[in-house]
Homo-oligomer: 366 residues x 2
């Protein structure tokens, strides 16, 4: 078996110790006589798994006690509809569009708001600049009476990240943030947000799980047409188990949380992520062969798109990378070129191997 | 490692060869250098996995070409809302209530219909008899103009199964069936149904996946408020990948389908399931110590609730069973007593071990 360095944007590489433990426990979890996939979600074994996962997740992000943690299904895409269903409350919500994902969230909110009564309103867009930078404060048109203000703090496709608290828009309405592709990669101040959501398949675990962190006072506002299983208040009251939760995905997420704690938690991950991202950005910025077009104050530590200045070499670059056990580097079709997604599970050695390969490829083709 | 005989109603026991293969492939699927959980859902590896899973599922159930197979999230509970959202079309839908699950489906349809415009109507209920039998034809009050007629063909909690085609209600409107807990346990004539749905966590694979089989002509009727990710037509057009699907759950389901084919397919499973169910029902019917109260023509082959006539012995029965490596036998709280769920993955040896234990327990306590 040869493990590659897997730069997939998601579903993405997971820590090898997590996968080894999952494989070992597949047929018999802690002497239960069956695997986690085969357990009743109401039994004491799985109850201990989900409770430990929530406790570890809360500890890692220092989540205040007035926030609920929900383990849901349908991914961020379902949240694009579920958020206005739960929070619009007949009003208008503001959306900042800084890349493909926040644009999709805005589109779905318009669709849902139009049907339920209410509105989704564009409060700022960086599309004219090709989504290569964050929005400046003077570009925002904020509604002080909005039901909430939605933003995506890391744009997986465009490689734009809003990571520093002082980059957050100055607004007193509840901030709702899609953190799918950078959650747990750096400390955050949860109390600055009304709701945070994250699809698991980047920094948390397998696809099929989305985690929602929601402030207590935002529960209980759902539109009448909201399915029970999509009503945050109902799910909070049922401990995420109105229906059968995605038990195996929650178990894997729990193992990832324990691995993160063993690494030193989110602060330690941030240091590692800074080192990894700096290595690649410094190389890109010094190169005349490759380039990254995102503004320096807006660059993602997690998703780094880059272009070969001679795009005719793209196929050769990807083929050589694969031969060097560096996979999933092709950029998203809407951006082209390449993309290296370097989430928590990607070691510095993987980024070093990528930079070494890129340097060598440039030397041979420059 | 000791594997128990696990009688959980769901998530439920999976075939051991499936779990062994999943464990072996956890870190490296077919030489890809990464596990299935870590693969992009858009890559050729996962594309081959989902396409093979769909092809095998279609073959196992002989699904006609004018039906689409969708791999979705949110379980049957989300379908309880999604079905009226997609199929009500401003009209009225009929519901047959034959146990807890169809009752929940009816309740959620009333909720959704009330909000979207339209109605869910009770077309028959067996509740007065404690859900111990199927409905008779002369008890049904069917609306010939209903948007659809919903039924649950196997009630997991009450152990009532509608398995024979001649037990289906005589109706020309599209039949919509929750087959979560007996799909793939016996051949079915898919063409008799407009839509079939099944949460995976009984006979298919892990929780977090629900499979929908829907006839082409029922696509495109969704209410305006339907989230894109819940619109059957949108998901059919995107091959179940408008968003990231639950990739690992689909992979496990695919392994289960291959295991089923190796066992001889659904007809062979039916023969095995008849043998297993007969062994337990024959023992129960001959016993003065235990009883099953479901009418003989309505009994489930998958979920067999039974009572000890002396309920004071329940705890001792469960403790002894666990000591004999027979687990998850406690009945649902709404019914009490015991329940043995004996899905495809439960071997005859497991049912024999249960009957042997029950006989011994009765002899010691009778």
């Amino acid at each position: 078996m040869t493990r590659v360095f897997n730069f997939s944007a998601g579903p993405a590489a997971l820590p090898e110790p997590v996968l080894r433990q999952a494989a070992e426990e597949m047929l018999d979890w802690h002497g239960a006589g069956c695997g986690v996939m085969e357990m009743s979600h109401r039994g004491k074994e799985f109850t201990s798994i989900i409770e430990q996962a929530e406790a570890d997740f809360r500890e890692l992000l220092a989540i205040p006690s007035n926030y609920r943690v929900l383990f849901l299904q349908g991914g961020a895409t379902q949240q694009f509809a579920q958020i206005p269903m739960n929070l619009l409350n007949g009003g208008s919500a503001d959306y900042l569009v800084t890349g493909s994902w926040s644009k999709k969230a805005y589109g779905e909110a318009q669709h849902v708001a139009g049907a339920l009564g209410g509105a989704a309103r564009l409060a700022g867009s960086a599309e004219a600049d090709g989504f290569t930078r964050l929005l400046r404060a003077d570009e925002l048109d904020l509604d002080a009476n909005a039901s909430y203000l939605h933003l995506c703090t890391n744009e997986t496709i465009h490689g734009v990240e809003l990571g520093e608290a002082d980059q957050l828009p100055a607004s007193a309405v509840p901030l709702v943030a899609d953190m799918s592709s950078h959650i747990l990669s750096r400390p955050i101040d949860v109390s600055r947000f009304g709701l945070i959501y994250a699809g698991a398949q980047k920094n948390i675990g397998p696809s099929g799980l989305v985690i929602v962190i929601v402030r207590d006072d935002l529960l209980g506002r759902a539109a009448a047409a909201t399915p029970a299983v999509m009503d945050y208040k109902v799910m909070a009251e049922h401990g995420s188990m109105l229906n059968t939760p995605p038990t195996y995905a929650i178990y894997i997420a729990g193992l990832v949380f324990q691995w993160l704690k063993a690494q030193g938690g989110v602060a330690a991950m941030e240091a590692a992520n800074v080192a990894k991202a700096s290595l690649l950005y410094d190389f890109l910025d010094a190169s005349e062969f490759y380039e990254n077009r995102v503004a320096r104050d807006s660059r993602s530590r997690m998703n780094i798109p880059f272009l070969l200045r001679d795009e005719a070499l793209n196929d050769a670059f990807l083929a050589g990378a694969k031969a060097a056990a560096l996979t999933q580097l092709k950029g998203h079709k809407s951006v082209g070129g390449m993309r290296a997604s370097i989430y928590n599970a990607m070691p510095l050695a993987g980024v070093q191997a990528l930079v070494d390969y890129m340097r060598d490829f440039a030397a041979r083709n420059g």
